[in-house]
Amino acid sequence: MTDIPAALETEKLSLNFGALHVANAIDFRLDPGARHALIGPNGAGKTTFVNLVAGRLTPTSGRILLDGLPITHLPQDTRVKKGLVRTFQINALFRDLSLLENVTLAISERVGIASNMWRSAGSHRAVIAEAYALLEDLGLADDALRSVRELAYGRQRLAELAVALALKPKVLLLDEPAAGVPSGESGVIIAMIERLPADITLLIIEHDMDLVFRIAKRITVLLRGRILVEGTPAEISENAEVREVYLGERTPT
């Protein structure tokens, strides 16, 4: 198992603000093709962890490896080019642009035409067609020319995923993909995540336990910037410590 390099790995990853440890020596390993969930109560440092791995925050100490190679000090855009892609807990889309444009922008970056100042964006037909095909695939084609602002919230969450998928990620960090979606509607999002190609390595940060137990094969519990425990969903739901600090709030006993 250990001779295959992890898709993503952190070694003693730490971020301190003075005496406050928002990430405290996190050793974390994501195997290729994993379906892994990161859970923990509010303020446990889940989103901080995503920001560190994606490159929005710089760690105080520790290392981050992608496919066995260190990326700790690479800028965010270089990490994306290497296949490390994230989504956002709160929709971070181009709200006044059409859905098709949102996805086209992402594809343009991936295929490297976005620095071309001279050729018309519209003349890259293959890119536009790919964007449209992706929207069709996700059942969003009807809204292709609507601005994101006009879409229902659930559709916006799907759009958030569409933009990330347009980048053909190897490792995808989903920061609360179902956040803010009424529980009745989260099924569509779960279904879409379940349909993702098996070779995409997934890390899901989520509060919605339905989603976590439906999708995750392994779960890591984070508490105050530190890994409390890691295991299979069954192990986690049985773990007394976890029940106490986290699930305990939900299971009446």
């Binding site: 080019k81 922008l105 001279w118 536009i128 449209y132």
Partner: protein, 332 residues
Amino acid sequence: MSETVSDKIAAAPAIAAFARRDRLRAYEALPWLAAIAAYFLFPTYLPLGAQILATTLFALSVDLILGYAGIVTLGHAASFGVGAYTAGILAVRGWGEPVTGLLAAAIVAGLVGLLSGLLILRTRGLTLLMQTLVIAVLLYEAANKATSLTGGADGLQGMQVWPVFGIFTFDLFGATAYLYALTALFVAWLIVRRIVYSSFGRSLTGIRENMLRMQAIGAPVYVRMVVIYAVSAALAGVAGAVIAQTTQFVSLTSLGLDRSGTILVMLIIGGVGRLYGAFIGVPLYMIAQDQFSQIDPVYWFFWIGLFMVLLVSFAPGGVLGSLARLTQRWRR
């Protein structure tokens, strides 16, 4: 592959429209027709006309960074002034060939823009705004002190500008100046239009809309911003050079904060981020200024101010923004 691509596009006409957003529309001929008509209709106003055209070019350069990339600047006169002084100093020191003068102005202003961009574009928001201001003030003071080069507070005098292409002499009536400025504006417009509709231009819109997301989709945001800042500075430099060459004078005001401020006002009147805002806002402002100052030489600035207040209250988004809202309402 290419078959399936064209099939897709044929199957979805809306997608085809999305791909052809860059096509030339009939209304885009309007500014040029109006400019040519004005040449024949108002022969006594050609010197003012040339100023308006060059200032439109300046506003267009500001729109490129403000309207598309979302970089708010209070110091774009820095680039304008650097261009004006470059062309001016060349003409004083014995090289009065105007077209190469414009190119030199573009290069020098572009380089200054590149360097200052590298320096200041790491910051955002109000800090960035202050930095643009500081760069402009620094350059202003530098030009003020370097009297042997710039003439300091007296301005740069003694420019000898040669005829354009060795044929068209800059005349007293401003006919050559007008056509010269018009040509410079047209070339700049072709370049800006091209950039705006390119993939690079779309990515600028992305940066303006959501910088965070642009980084998350792998865009080197800082590099893109520095590049467009330098391009915009080069264009602003050309605008400054056109005014220097056609008036044969450069003063410190070309680097002044006044100019940085008014150009923003003119652009906002026309509409920001719409490519044609400059073509509406600048003539409107400058003609109004000219007329008000004739009618009421003492308080004309008050009338401009009142006009601005009314416009901002009743037509946010400028003339073009309001037009767009009206046509949208029409369609519904």
